[in-house]
């Protein structure tokens, strides 16, 4: 085996021009592939991070017009103006919400879930309608679907032990001329305003936010006899990736048979994810085309080399080299060039990824960084190696088919 590689190396050194051309071809292909895949992974991470701001969360609820839902409370809202709502639609309550949320959390596609009370009140003084959202501020999903501490523009966010306090949505506070430290009355109960929030587009926005249990209390106060306990009208859900949102929605709907649940999310994540997919496919296609071109170039070059060396191959066969020896020799030469080209290509690619500001050139500022994965480098090398085998196989076959007498006679 050592003879083979030594002999191949010697032959490559003899034909420096052709060897360098082939190595350069493999280098270029491997480098482009690694850089494209590296840039692709970066782009994927960057676009995912952008898309995840809108594409990994949704809310679910049972509309009030579905009366036959077996796991829904019959307590429907005030027909006139007050009651449980989501997206402006009157909703039913989902009973035993703790148990249901636990089931949702166990889904493979779901990252976090939480029960949420969203109730529309009517201000008894001025007749204004406002919504109260009741949540557990400890739950991660709340920060993604309702409001988060970072959305606070004045005051502070709700703490787990806070009681008798609320935070207001900025537009509502402005409308009602309320500020931090003021008091608001909801269903006859007084609450201190401890903060003003200005959350971005969120699916479960309300005008007033408070603790889940306190929201339960004020709602019960308003509803009188039809009090609620361990029920919620909305489920907040954060999925693991924007790409599995549809899958998560389907899985979650299956938890409540009968197609009662309605899931609502931003419609923009689908086209965005699709565009992301198109870019990804195009980059892969480009990489494959470059790889094929490199292999064809190397094949042509290797074939020319075999045809030029027809006489040499004839002589080697005449002195006892078998077809197998000749095939191994040609393949070893091809693979050696591919391996050298592959390694150099990977090194060049690493240099490009390290020193060329791809983040800046891409124009995507998503806090993502170029990651040089060892697997991508291994892939670049393995593909160059396979390219070498493919490029060497046909010329080796041609060389093996030559009969020594024909090769010698043709000179």
């Amino acid at each position: 085996m050592r003879d083979l590689w030594e002999c191949a190396w010697r032959e490559l050194k003899r034909r420096k021009g052709r060897t360098l051309t082939n190595i350069f071809g493999y280098l270029l292909a491997a480098a482009i592939m690694v850089v494209v895949v590296g840039a692709l992974l970066y782009s994927k991470e960057a676009t995912s991070s952008i898309l995840n701001r809108v594409g990994t969360r949704f809310i679910a609820f049972v509309p009030a017009h579905i009366p036959s839902c077996p796991e829904c409370s019959a307590k429907s809202p005030d027909e006139e103006s007050e009651g449980f709502v989501a997206y402006g639609v009157a909703t039913n309550l989902i009973t035993n919400i703790t148990n249901f949320v636990d089931k949702v959390k166990k889904l493979d596609t779901v990252y976090d879930a939480s029960g949420y009370l969203l109730f529309r009140f009517k201000d008894q003084k001025d007749g204004h309608l406002f919504t109260v959202g009741g949540f557990d501020p400890d739950d991660f999903v709340v920060s993604k679907t309702c409001c988060a501490a970072k959305d606070i523009v004045k005051g502070r966010f709700l703490l787990p032990n806070d009681r008798g306090v609320v935070i207001l949505e900025k537009a509502y506070a402005k409308l009602k001329k309320l500020k931090e430290g003021d008091e608001v009355t909801i269903a006859g109960s007084m609450f201190s305003v401890i903060g003003i929030v200005k959350p971005p587009i969120r699916p479960a926005k309300a005008e007033i936010y408070m603790h889940f249990d306190e929201a339960e209390q004020v709602i019960n106060k308003r509803m009188g006899a039809s009090s609620i306990h361990n029920e919620a009208n909305v489920i907040l859900i954060e999925v693991k990736s924007s790409k599995v949102q549809d899958e998560a929605i389907t899985s979650m709907k299956n938890l409540l048979p009968g197609d009662y649940l309605v899931a609502s999310s931003y419609a923009c994540y689908r086209p965005a994810a699709k565009v992301m997919g198109i870019n990804e496919d195009a980059a892969w296609l480009l990489t494959i085309i470059i790889g094929i071109c490199a292999v064809i170039l190397a094949l042509k070059s290797q074939l020319s080399s075999v045809l030029e060396r027809r006489r040499d191959i004839g002589i080697l066969k005449a002195i006892g080299w078998t077809d197998g020896n000749v095939v191994s020799q040609i393949l070893a030469e091809s693979v050696l060039q591919a391996m050298i080209g592959g390694i150099l290509g990977c090194l060049v690619a690493v240099a490009i990824l390290l020193f060329v500001p791809i983040e800046m050139l891409s124009g995507i500022e998503a806090g993502a960084h170029i990651i040089i994965s060892p697997w991508v480098l291994v892939l670049g090398f393995v593909l160059a190696f396979l390219g070498g085998i493919i490029a060497g196989s046909f010329p080796a076959f041609i060389a093996a088919r030559q009969r020594p007498a024909d090769a010698l006679r043709s000179i």
Binding site: R14, I315, L316, T322, D323, R403, P404, A405
Partner: protein, 241 residues
Amino acid sequence: MNVVDEITGEGDIFLECKDLRKSFTVKRKEIRVLRGINLSVNRGEIVVIAGKTGAGKSTFLGVLGGLERQTEGSVIFEGRCMEDLSHEELALLRRQKISVIFQNYNLLPSWTAYENVEAALLHIGMSKTARREKVKTLLNNLGLGERLDNLPSELSIGQQQRVAIARTLANEPALILADEPTGELDAETAQEIIEHLITPVREKGVTLVIATHGIFPLDISTRLFYMKDGTLVPQGSIQQG
């Protein structure tokens, strides 16, 4: 008139041809080069085949060396019919038993003298050290110890032929087929080459079949043939070696 072509030497038959025929088709026309050769060669013989250029000597040696297949008849080497052997087996036979010295030496032009000789010892499992030792010894014995790293183009014709002989002897063959080994050489160099060729015959009992167009000291042969119209005409035994 049919000439009696079969000449059976005495003793241990080593190589035998029976009604050997070879023809080529060139532009739809059949050219019959060998027209029924019968020959038996004993171990350790020096058989010289003389004849004009184009008489079919090279083709005959090519068939004996398994470089090409005969059209009809058979070649039996050490009791084995060569037409039954695959290309792979013929290659192995050339590696182990039969060596060919070509008319134009057929050295690999981009390989050094050392590498040309070493080529015959590659892929046979010999260590690099043993290989180097053997190649150097062979080339030293042929007076090329100082020219190991020279390309064929940097050597004289005589030196090139000596490299070809070193390559031939590298595998210690039982049969050497030499096609015009002294054809382009001056008398003095030709004599040297002949000495190098007959040394293994004398020392190791190697069999030598030489094709020549006449400029060859025919007195070294044990048997002499003349090739005419694709057949062998015996010219008698000149010297028993």
